[in-house]
Symmetry: C2
Subunit: 404 residues, 2 copies
């Protein structure tokens, strides 16, 4: 292992997105991440999307580069093996992350009896330990009522799960913060990260709670417009959409140059007494700006609009579908972050390495996700030091399993 985090070992009892993605993030930086699952599969082993044979593309995406051990979680012997694995000796070992209920044998206090400097990250739904998923915490944050078409009634859910993503990366960060503390003081600890608190803290950071409390207003639904500056989707002559934004002075000039709007923009400024180089000015006259931009985009193809915006250095992007993305040369096929991976049971498709480029190490290409229990034997032998006949007996007794 040549990555930046070589020497770290994380044992993970996880399902769905936040915990597995956090672990994968560390695995892609070179940590040895071992995911354990029940011998019959985890909650997300068959999660959609799946191949036509029912193999989970979802699972494969979130567990790349990990090792997998499959154990019967109901059998005392299975639990004993996992507790030994979690608390195995080694300077960079003794790190455990889970979003399973961290009670009984999985409780930090219980595991810490075997290794006092254990670090546990317990990802939970809310601060009381209640169940939540991205969709339910999202409802509470307030975002679904301001997402979607301006004239739409009712909530619009997020498809890209913001709170799972935040929890995954913040959790991975927390592991490194705790490992630093342990390195400096010798002290382990339990870290509690509630998905709901993650969402609420981010909602607070983004100013939504402050705005509601201070101005005593509810943010309105503005469709695809970017609140407080300028940005919106526009439709091209050939029925495509482009997102066009202004975040700085430079973007005003670039957009004006791309569409030949300089004079019209100046007229809007004069007529409405606003400065398009300010957020407030752009927001105030956004309808007038759209009235200038819309006919230009509608009169040209996406290729023509894109070429003009790109040439001028405007802030913009084309909308595309996932299938178009999977074939996008610039974003995927020619992007050195992606490698065509041969994922056992699924097939060959482009998969991403870490988006982080560290100067001190070469970025490793993505490695396939393991089959369930693919590394059961090498982990029992290599980390727990069990002899071959003992491992065979555990298989016979159906205490451990895999690969399947």
């Amino acid at each position: 292992m040549s990555g930046l985090l070589a020497g770290l070992r994380i044992v993970e009892g996880s399902a769905f997105i936040a915990a597995p993605l956090g672990g994968m993030t560390l695995a892609q930086l070179g940590a040895d991440v071992i995911r354990f699952d029940d011998i019959h599969g985890g909650l997300d082993s068959d999660r959609w999307p799946v191949t036509r044979d029912g193999r989970s593309i979802y699972w494969a995406g979130l567990n790349k580069g990990k090792r997998s051990i499959a154990v019967d979680l109901r059998k005392p012997k299975g639990r004993e093996l996992l507790a030994a694995l979690i608390t195995a000796p080694g300077e960079g070992a003794g790190i455990f992350t889970t979003n399973m209920p961290a009670r009984g044998w999985l409780a930090h206090e219980e595991l810490a009896k075997k290794r006092a400097d254990l670090i546990s990250l317990n990802i939970v739904g809310d601060r009381h330990g209640g169940a939540h998923v991205d969709y339910t915490v999202n409802a509470i944050t307030g975002f679904p009522l301001v997402t979607g078409p301006a004239d739409h009634e009712g909530p619009v859910n997020a498809v890209a799960p913001p709170w799972d993503l935040a929890t995954a990366y913040a959790g991975a960060m927390a592991i490194l913060a705790a490992e630093r503390h342990r390195r400096l003081t010798g002290e382990g600890q339990r870290i509690l990260l509630p998905l709901q608190d993650m969402a609420l803290a981010a909602t607070s950071a983004l100013g939504y709670i402050g705005e509601a409390a201070i101005n005593d207003v509810d943010r309105q639904r503005h469709g695809n417009e970017i609140f407080g500056t300028f940005g919106r989707d526009f439709r091209t002559r050939d029925g495509r959409w482009v997102m066009i934004c202004i975040f700085s002075d430079r973007h005003v000039d670039a957009l004006a140059a791309a569409g030949g709007f300089r004079q019209k923009f100046a007229e809007i400024e004069r007529h409405r007494s606003v400065d398009l180089k300010t957020d407030a000015g752009r927001w105030q006259v956004r309808a007038e700006l759209c009235a200038v931009i819309e006919p230009w985009v509608a009169a040209h193809t996406a290729a023509e609009v894109g070429a003009a915006l790109k040439e001028a250095g405007a802030l913009w992007a084309p909308y595309q579908s996932f299938r178009e993305l999977a074939r996008d040369k610039e974003a995927v096929l020619d992007n050195p972050m992606f490698t065509v991976l041969d994922q056992p049971g699924i097939g060959r498709y482009p998969a991403a390495a870490t988006p982080l480029q560290f100067g001190a190490v070469t970025r490793e290409p993505p490695r396939p996700a393991p089959l369930l229990g693919q590394h059961t034997d090498e982990i029992l032998s290599g980390i727990l030091g069990l002899p071959a006949h003992e491992i065979a007996r555990l298989h016979d007794q159906k205490v451990v399993g895999g690969p399947r």
Copy 2:
């Protein structure tokens, strides 16, 4: 400073969300994070939402607990001071994060001449250094075309910015990974994190690129339904909405108990030959499940529905607005993560500390965001060791400024 990251110092030249939020994340864990801005304010100094006086609630939310130094970035002397600050000696110092163009005097190579073990995190738009924001990378990922009402034509933008959030926390993690490497080897490095690659790597992890490439299908727009299992919004008698989901066996039973659906669920299973305890089974008969749940929710108030779902242990949540959230006892007012902060120039409102609870340290309440240049003098004196008359001269020459 008593936080987990006490002893770390990060100097940040940033604007908008990803870079400031990453820095704030580390500040809320106890690091000394110094944000520098141009003496006239940064790109986001007046970013909306703002108070009625035009004070940025946005800026206050993303810079809590940092110190601020204001410097004329165009003056050579101003740049010299900042380069000295970024590369100041100290074991935990010499860490720089920016999403400004890291060229010239801000380039890692240039700064590393003054401190060889410098760590720089450069957040950029795309891997070529081009400009992007959450809205433009989101268009490219494919998510806007599957978000929003099933019958809607055209893209639906995210309001909660998933890629900024991911970049913020992954960037904070990267800083700690690089600091670990420096502690172990003495070596600094530049870290490059393109916002677009962050979004594409997460889209890959979530299986969307794999699904498109392997199954050669485009994910359809499913409105508020959760793809591949069961979950949707429902409207109550009093015109509120609730999100109800099923992610596990337990949630099936709980939902059935809450609404008295046991027999109807069994009939659906028999009639359609599906198993509601599988993701695929629930997804296949989702219309039938909705036909059972919908009239029950529509016949009761939100309070009644919520009480029944809560009592039964179902996976659900009420939708609410930001103003309702700001007054929500459970989520905000009684949540120990929140403190009513007195933010100079803005007022008193609930603001969140870190969502992470570390066993080894007490969570610190959130601290206000600084005024622009509030700590200019103490930083010039305390870190750069400048005498008072020199600092006064820098103010007179308008090389430094603040507070304002």
